[in-house]
């Protein structure tokens, strides 16, 4: 606040108020524009919860039924909004239950701030009740973490937490606050963090590298783009589209890059990786210039590194210097936020169409269509296939829904077949592969994007890992649509057992409960289908509903997801059967 002193120059004075550490936490969240947080109370975080109660008109708290649910919900919220998700839990088991979500957010670069309670500072190190070394535990899975032991540290530390979580390559930050720091008072004033001297979120852009990249692209005969989530995190979707359209370069995506470019775009050639499309995988080893944009060459994308794109000049647009040359050597690394670098690149690109090269993708697509896609989508006999469900959702939603998928076969099918018109519409656990992610993440996604339809696609295995969040959905009245694709198997593991363990189905068959009965017990609208003829009606009914709706689809039991690049194989050894 600027204070005028009589007749003299303006003097800046900080507006300070005396508040408790706990109240300061809420005031910080409000100052950062936090609208909603997900959490679960407990002893060591009770002072903060007391303030949540007092501030309930200004900030919403969603009581999940397990802290893992809180973390995933915060992730879902962050993924669709681009804002920092906030999860809050007590010390000890409350904190450890967040771990899976934090790890997931870390590997998938999701901005998140987690606040955990901690025993009083005088008890630290005494193995007190519900004491756990949360800073130690979360160190390898956080972008930054810090233990607050003094109330006066709270404003500065939380400002830093939000800044770190959202800047540069985003990630999760954990702040552990001792109970005495929550109780003690401080003179509160809040100043947003705008820089930390040892931290450089945005590497300087080297224009020369951009020019070299453009030159390589302009001279290429068979260029190919693979884009990842960096495009979404950088808000560079439109620029990406302009780059693709101007250069005429076919563009493929990683599962976290999905939805940055609309599915129907003529230059969208599909997904790379283990269960990606035939053409982009095969042609990775045929292209002359491989343009990686905001992606990190995960092993599920590259397969065998020794045979990955060896013939190609690799250009790597990347914000995180540690990712460059980590897995794949880039001849032309272009460091920087893709929003900056793609804009510069665009200037240097020459218009091209690469028609012949594009036809190669089309040829290979028709092979994949004949061998796989056709059968996945238009089987006449047997049980419903997962792809048919996705296809029906596409038809009814027009490709406008946010699809939140769990982990396993249905996830791969969802990524392969879901249609997207808008960015930030695909929410899935990519790097960590966390079963149980989708249901709570869908809650956060829906709360972050209330105007849009949110459909969670979950397998019967993953659903049972976090199904307690049905209660959160009911209590908070979150109108998410839940589809459980039930094949009574842990399908992906079963597929591997079929392919590599001679069908020894060790602990993958599931004798399941009555899922609709469970959903009913949580007061949700439910439906269960097993016949193809019921599918259209069931999806229409689900998407027409204004409330949360649970649909169980009994699907083909021993379906395999193809194409597939088996572990350690080369992308050019992609199997169609």
């Amino acid at each position: 606040m600027e204070v005028k002193t009589a007749g003299f120059k303006e003097v800046s004075a900080k507006e300070t108020v005396k508040v408790s550490g706990a109240e300061a936490v809420i005031k910080c969240l409000l100052a950062e524009g936090v609208e909603v947080m997900y959490g679960y109370p407990g002893g060591a975080i009770m002072p903060v919860y007391d303030e949540i109660y007092k501030y309930k008109d200004q900030i919403e708290h969603v009581l999940t039924r397990h802290e893992q649910g809180a973390a995933h919900a915060a992730q879902g919220y962050a993924r669709v909004t681009g804002k920092v998700g906030v999860a809050i839990a007590t010390s000890g088991p409350g904190a450890t239950n967040l771990i899976t979500g934090i790890a997931d957010a870390h590997i998938d670069s999701t901005p998140m701030v987690c606040i955990t309670g901690q025993v009083g500072s005088h008890l630290l190190g005494s193995d007190a009740f519900q004491e756990i070394d949360m800073v130690g535990l979360s160190t390898p899975i956080t972008k930054w973490n810090y233990q607050v032991t003094k109330a006066s540290e709270i404003p500065q530390v939380l400002a830093k937490a939000f800044y770190i979580a959202r800047s540069g390559r985003p990630g999760p930050v954990l702040i552990d606050i001792t109970k005495d720091a929550q109780f003690d008072s401080l003179d509160f004033s809040y100043k947003k963090c705008t820089g930390i001297r040892s931290y450089k979120p945005l590497p300087e852009v080297n224009l020369l590298q951009v020019e070299r990249a453009a030159q390589a692209i302009n001279n290429a005969k068979k260029p190919m783009i693979v884009f990842g989530q960096g495009v979404i995190l950088g808000g560079a979707e439109q620029l990406l589209k302009e780059v693709i359209e101007k250069s005429g370069v076919p563009a493929a995506w990683t599962i976290l890059g999905l939805s940055a470019l609309e599915t129907d775009h003529p230059l969208n050639v599909g997904m790379v990786g283990m269960h990606g499309n035939y053409a982009p995988n095969l042609l990775t080893n045929e292209c002359d210039v491989l343009i990686a944009i905001g992606m990190r060459f995960d092993d599920r994308v590259t397969g065998d590194l020794n045979t990955y794109a060896k013939q190609a000049t690799v250009i790597h647009f990347e914000i995180d210097p540690a990712e460059v040359n980590k897995n794949v050597q880039a001849q032309i690394p272009v460091l920087g936020d893709v929003k900056q670098t793609l804009k510069l690149l665009l200037e240097f690109l020459q218009p091209n169409s690469h028609e012949q090269w594009h036809n190669r993708f089309k040829e290979l697509y028709s092979i994949e269509y004949e061998k796989i896609i056709k059968n996945d989508l238009s089987a006449k006999h047997g049980k419903i296939k997962m792809a048919e469900v996705l296809d029906e959702i596409n038809t009814v939603s027009g490709g406008n829904a946010i699809i939140v998928s769990d982990v396993g076969q249905h996830q791969m099918v969802a990524c392969r077949y879901a249609k997207f018109n808008a960015t930030r519409s695909n929410v899935t656990s990519g790097g960590l592969g966390t079963m149980g992610f989708a249901l709570p993440a869908a809650i956060g996604a829906k709360m972050g994007s209330t105007a849009r339809e949110v459909v969670a696609i979950i397998g019967d295995g993953g659903f049972q890992m976090t199904l307690q969040e049905l209660a959160t959905i009911y209590q908070m009245n979150v109108p998410v649509k839940i589809v459980v694709l039930n094949n009574n198997f842990l399908g992906m593991v079963r597929q591997w057992q079929q392919m590599f363990f001679e069908k020894r189905y060790a602990s993958t068959e599931m004798v399941n409960p009555d899922f609709t009965g469970i959903a009913k017990a949580y007061h949700l609208q439910t439906n269960k289908i097993s016949e193809r003829s019921q599918l259209k009606g069931a999806v229409e009914e689900m998407l027409a509903s204004k409330e949360a709706h649970f649909l169980e689809v009994s699907v083909e039991k021993e379906e395999c997801v193809f194409p597939m690049i088996t572990t350690g194989a080369s992308v050019s050894d992609i199997r169609l059967e």
């Binding site: 800073v135 130690g136 160190t139 390898p140 972008k143 930054w144 973490n145 810090y146 233990q147 800044y163 770190i164 800047s167 705008t194 820089g195 930390i196 001297r197 040892s198 931290y199 450089k200 979120p201 945005l202 995180d320 210097p321 540690a322 460059v324 040359n325 980590k326």
Partner: protein, 198 residues
């Protein structure tokens, strides 16, 4: 490509192959003095199953900036990646890696020997002269000798003293300064001026 001499100086025509031999690298890390940073840095090595040969931490030439010296035996590719991961940590200002010939490095060792044996069998004066060691303390029961130098020098002295009943032996981690410049102050200045974008 055929080259008459590969870069290990081996003579003869052979293909120049990519060599990824393990060797000693010294990783220097300039950091803010932050609780928990040591475990963050150590975790980077642990995750990759890399054994830390030695690690020291101390104040650096810049006010309030710490410097870690970490010795590892890895390939150059590995050390590059490690340095990348270390630099990614929020409180790390800058990390470098160096080969042995790019550094001046020293270790300090302390040897505690029984006075009776030592006095009997040694011409102490010439011993100290020859080894460039230093007597830190003397008591009727024991001598404490200090030797600073490279690993082989402290090891030589160890071998010399071993027969006379070493009561205790301890060696510090390697400390090192680089021959080239470490422009930490400039880097910090740059951070301060350029690093305010949200």
């Amino acid at each position: 490509m055929c080259v008459p001499n590969d870069h290990h100086g081996r003579i003869g025509f052979r293909y120049k192959i990519r060599v990824m031999e393990k060797q000693n690298y010294t990783v220097s890390v300039y950091t803010e003095n932050n609780l928990g940073l040591l475990s963050r840095i150590a975790a980077i090595f642990l995750k990759r199953h890399i054994n830390i040969e030695s690690i020291t931490a101390s104040q650096s030439e810049v006010h309030e900036v710490m410097r870690f010296i970490i010795i590892v035996e890895v390939t150059e590719e590995q050390v590059k990646k490690i340095v990348g991961q270390i630099e990614k940590q929020i409180e790390v200002i800058k990390a470098f890696y160096h080969k042995d010939d790019e550094l001046i490095y020293q270790e300090t060792a302390l040897y505690k020997v029984r006075s009776s044996d030592f006095v009997q069998d040694f011409d102490i004066q010439s011993f100290i002269k020859k080894t460039n060691a230093r007597i830190v303390t003397v008591s009727p029961q024991f001598f404490v000798i200090e030797k600073t130098g490279e690993r082989h020098e402290t090891e030589d002295l160890y071998d010399k003293l071993k027969p006379y009943g070493l009561m205790q032996f301890v060696r510090s981690g390697t400390i090192a300064v680089s021959k080239n410049e470490m422009p930490i102050s400039e880097i910090l200045e740059k951070f301060n001026t350029s690093n305010t974008i949200q």
